[in-house]
């Protein structure tokens, strides 16, 4: 009886760990997506020291998530069960590997961009490319701040230097490939091919194509009567017909 209860406890603990890792996965995606949004402003005229600080904090967060996830997944895999559980963990393992690879690429890009556009002197701002963006990273930083992972508060590493982070990720990936024998191609995707997003809010989003169409018309100067209500798609069509 005791033994059975123990194993139930074990299973529950394991389940908790797996859900922890899943949440961490989502968090990793969030962090990398926000990192990319911020990195796209590097070198443009909305670049600044605040952006770079935000970038550094974001990548530190990513580093924490990555290392933590790696450790936990390794522990889960080492337990060596077979069956559906193991498949799930393997899926997460491959997810982590892909995420690390993509994030490392982004890091390298950001590193060389920061070298190419140093902001140490006043006149360096003259070389920044005028891309038309105005805002910085503030909104994205707010989103980053909402990211939580279970072990964030617990572990307290320092923010690693860019180069060391890249090399650490490199070694992490190498270790992942060599240590655990998970063939990458054996993992099947859970997501469908043509996916739609879960709609959190009503869709106010005009697509780029529609917006650019309207822009063309407005240059000809025939939109004085058109209402500029963002939802008024009919109005825009009328503009096009004019």
């Amino acid at each position: 009886m005791n033994r059975w209860r123990q194993s139930v406890g074990e299973i529950q603990a394991r389940q908790r760990q797996v859900t922890e890792c899943e949440r961490a996965q989502v968090a990793l995606s969030k962090v990398t997506a926000c990192f990319q949004q911020m990195a796209s402003s590097l070198g443009s005229d909305s670049d600044g020291s605040s952006l770079r600080e935000e970038l550094a904090e974001t990548r530190a967060l990513a580093h924490k998530i990555c290392t933590g996830l790696h450790r936990r997944l390794l522990a889960l895999l080492a337990e060596g069960e077979q069956g559906q559980e193991r498949e799930h963990v393997e899926r997460m393992w491959v997810f982590l590997l892909t995420g690390l690879e993509t994030f490392q690429k982004d890091l390298k890009k950001v590193g060389s961009l920061q070298e190419f556009f140093p902001l140490t002197q006043r006149k360096d701002r003259d070389t920044l490319v005028k891309t038309g963006t105005s805002g910085g990273a503030l909104e994205i930083a707010a989103r980053v701040a909402t990211i939580q992972t279970p072990w964030l508060a617990v572990e307290d590493d320092q923010i690693p230097d860019m180069k060391t982070q890249i090399s650490k990720m490199d070694s992490l990936m190498q270790e992942m490939l060599q240590r655990v024998n998970v063939p990458l191609w054996s993992v099947e995707a859970k997501q469908e091919a043509w996916v739609e997003d879960i709609k959190d809010e009503p869709d106010q989003d005009e697509t780029l194509e529609e917006m650019m169409q309207v822009e063309l018309v407005s240059q000809e100067g025939t939109t004085s009567n058109c209402c500029h209500h963002p939802r008024c798609k009919l109005g825009c069509i009328l503009c096009l017909l004019n």
Binding site: L42, I198, M212, E215, L216
Partner: protein, 480 residues
Amino acid sequence: MTIRSNRDHGQHYRPRMFCLKKLQELVVGMQDPKNGVKGSEQKLNITVIPHVMTGQDIASWIANFFKMDADEALAMGTMMVAFGYIYPLQNHRKLVLKADDSFYRFQTPYFWPVQKWLAEDIDYAIYLAKRNIRKKGILEPYEQEHYNNFNKWLNHKWDFIVLQAQEQYRAGKERKKADRVVFDCQERAYWIVNRPPPRTHSAMDHGLSRLIDPNSEEEQTYDQYRRINIFLEQAIMRAKVKSSVSLGAFVKYITTFKNHDPFLSPCLPSNPWQTDDSTYWDINTRSVEIPTKMRVERWSFSFFELLNDPRGRADFKVFLKKEFSGENLAFWEAAEEMKWGAADSMKEKAETTFKTFLAPGAPRWINIDGRTMGLTVKGLEHPHRYVLDAAQTHIFMLMKKDTFYRYLKSPVYKDMQKKAINPEPHNFSEAQLEQNARNRKPGIDPIIIWQQEQEEKAKAAAAAMPVDVKQMMSKLDRKK
């Protein structure tokens, strides 16, 4: 994770594009607040997006900066657009610079084409997924095809791709509207450059990929330095020709062959590739009766030319027959046959050649010096393709220094020069050209040409065989 092993001999790396760094410097130069390109604002419904330029501004700035004229500046600008440093806002699929009011904007450095950063498939998959999430059914057919392929081949990364696309979409929504529009434009332009739609010209089209990564810094090991040293030492020891000498040879060649080159001087009667009239080929076949004047003139340039042209060789043979010294040329031809012949016929060819030309008392004994004769005979014990090479060279020089000049002064040659025709240049009108194009027919089948050659060879061989005295006597007897 892309795994590459040592046994992977595939070519995966994009070759170096040297213009990218220079274009980067140019783009940075364009940003100068005092001397750079003037930008203005773009009004888009209610939002205003700064930093848009007209094509005319960019073109004139480039023309001013480099001191070039307008056409070159336009070409330069188009190159910048094609590589993705500037993107057009209207007609985003066509990457050209138009010198008018059309709008352009600078691409953010994150999306610049840099030698080291490769636009990977996984990023493209994320981008396509993101666009599909934003609005279903907006992907073009070629994009849909790519997307389906990615689902198939990147299936193990698919979870990551979809999740990342969703997160990127949500992160993008956080930004201000103007910035969001700009970012979307930038990303779209980036992917049009790096994954061009089908049937478009792309500046990133680099041909074959390379085996070695040009971005990786090669570590020079001790062994590599040692090999470089050996190579350089050998290069120093090599025999060299003075450039004045070799250039002189070039100049001489060009002056002699200038009129015979079909690119440099018009081909008589007319270039068949241009006018679709094959008279030129018909009058210059291998065994034509009367060659053209140009051809005959070419024979006088060098002995090599004479021998190479089959009609010239035939003529030379006629001359040699008159002089009763045909064995040299026959030996030369036998040596050529050996060089180009099939491997299994080597032995018999060697034997026949020896019997006919080299053995003491042979019917067509050639006169080569003792040393060469000794070498050749020794080599014929173990015959290979080039065993007659030394003798052939000797005979060639002999013919060149002696017989060739006699040939050029001989009545045979002079006769040929007089007989040679000089065709009139064709002067086709447009209508005639079209008719020629319609009347094109295929030429003689090369198999037929080969058969004709074989027949000629057989005839020549039969004629050259040593006369069998007994047969002659029997013929005479029969006649009696």
